[in-house]
Symmetry: C2
C-alpha cells in the first residue's frame, strides 16, 4: 500500500467513525423522543402501567450515553481530531448529557403519570400537560433534526421557541396554584401536575441547549449566555 493510499484509508476510517457517532446520537435521540411521548401518553390516558414502563426503561437511555461517551473519548485519543471534527465531538459529549437528562425527566413524568392515574381525573384529561408535552416534543424533534442536518437556522428557531414553552409553563403553574387555593383537597394531585409541567419545561431547556451546541458545531460560535445581565429573568413564579 502506498503512503497516499494509507492516508486515504485512515481518513475514510475516521470519517466513518464520525458518521457512526452521529448516527448513534440520532438513534439515542429517537429513544429519548419515544420515552417522552410515552410518558405524555401515560398521563393523558391515565395509564399507570405505561408510566412505570417508561420509568423502568430509563436505563436504556443511560447505557446509550455511556457507550457514546466512551466512543467519543476513544476517537479523541486515537484520532486527535482538529477544527470542525473536534467541535463535533465536543458538541456530542454535551448533547448526550442533555439527552440523558431528558430521559431522566421522562422517567419522572412516568412515575408522576402512574400516581395521577390512581387519583381523580379531570374531565379534560390533562389537556394543558398534553399541549405543553406536544410543544416540547416538537422542540426536541426539531433540535435533533437541526443536529442531523447541522441546520443553524432551525437551531436558532428552537432556541427562540423555548421562551414560548417557558410562558406556557408559567401559565400552567399559576393555574395550579389557583386550583389548589380554590379547592385544597386537590393539593396532592395538583402538585403532581405541577411537577410534570416543570419536567416538561426542563426538557425544553435541554432541547435549547442541544441547539446551542449545533450553532457552536456549525460556526464555532458560542451562543450561550448571550443575554445581558439586566435581561436576566426568573423562570419561577
Amino acid at each position: 500500500m502506498e503512503a497516499s493510499d494509507l492516508t486515504g484509508h485512515i481518513s475514510r476510517r475516521f470519517n466513518k467513525d464520525l458518521e457512526d457517532l452521529r448516527s448513534a446520537v440520532l438513534s439515542m435521540g429517537g429513544v429519548v423522543e419515544t420515552q417522552l411521548s410515552r410518558a405524555i401518553d401515560a398521563i393523558v390516558r391515565g395509564d399507570s402501567a405505561l408510566g412505570l414502563k417508561v420509568a423502568g426503561d430509563d436505563y436504556k437511555v443511560n447505557n446509550l450515553e455511556v457507550s457514546i461517551d466512551e466512543e467519543c473519548s476513544r476517537i479523541l485519543a486515537t484520532r486527535a481530531p482538529a477544527a470542525s471534527d473536534l467541535r463535533l465531538i465536543v458538541a456530542i459529549i454535551k448533547t448526550i448529557t442533555d439527552l440523558e437528562r431528558v430521559g431522566d425527566e421522562a422517567e419522572k413524568i412516568g412515575f408522576l403519570a402512574s400516581k395521577l392515574a390512581q387519583m381523580d381525573r379531570p374531565t379534560d384529561s390533562y389537556r394543558e400537560l398534553n399541549n405543553l408535552g406536544s410543544h416540547v416534543s416538537h422542540m426536541l424533534r426539531d433540535a435533533m433534526n437541526a443536529f442531523a442536518r447541522l441546520d443553524v437556522d432551525e437551531a436558532l428557531a428552537v432556541i427562540e421557541e423555548d421562551e414560548h414553552v417557558d410562558e406556557e409553563y408559567e401559565t400552567i403553574s399559576r393555574q395550579c396554584i389557583t386550583f389548589m387555593m380554590e379547592d385544597p383537597r386537590t393539593i396532592k394531585r395538583v402538585m403532581n401536575v405541577t411537577w410534570a409541567a416543570r419536567s416538561l419545561e426542563r426538557i425544553g431547556d435541554h432541547a435549547k441547549n442541544i441547539c446551542e451546541y449545533v450553532v457552536y458545531m456549525a460556526q464555532g460560535r458560542d451562543v450561550r449566555h448571550t443575554h445581558a445581565p439586566e435581561e436576566a429573568e426568573s423562570t419561577d413564579n
Copy 2:
C-alpha cells in the same frame, strides 16, 4: 535548542496549561459556592436585595464557563492530549456544565428569596431550607475538594451523601404539602419554599455528577448509572 530541550519545554508548557485549567475550574467552583451561600443567606435573613444581587451576578458564572470551555477546546486542538490528560479535559468540560447549572439554581433561589422576603415570615426563618442549604453547600465544597485532589474516596462519599439530601428534600416537600392543606392561604408562599427546596436538591445532584467525573478522571471508570433498573426510584412525591 536541542530536540530533548524542546520536548521538555513543550511538555512543561502543556503541564502548565493543564494546571491553569484546573485552577480556573476551582476558582469557578469558588464563585458558584459564594453564589449559593449568598442565596441561602438571602432566604434566611429575608434579604430581598441580596437575593436579587445573586440573581444579577449569575452572568459571572456563565462567562467563566464559556472561557474555560474555549480553553479546553484550544488544548484539545493544539496538544492532542492522551490517556489521563484527555480524561481530565473531558471531565472538566462536563464539570463546568454542572457548575454553570448550580449557578442557574442559585439564581433561581435568589429570585425566590426576594419574593419570600416580601411575604409573611415563619418564626423559624426557614430553618429546613437553611439545613438543606448547608447540606448541599458542604456536598458542593467536598465535590470541589475531591476534584482538586483527585480524591476518589471523597468523591464516592459525596455520591453516597446525595441519597440523604434526596430524603431531606422529600421530607420538606411533604411538609410543604401538609402546610398548604392545613392553611390554603399559605399556598403561594409555600410554593416558593417548595421551589427553593427543589433547586437545592438539584444542586446536590450536580455535586454528585461532578464526583462521578472525578472517579472517571482518576480511574478511567464510569460510575454513572450503576444502579440496576429495578432499583430505579422516583425522586418526586
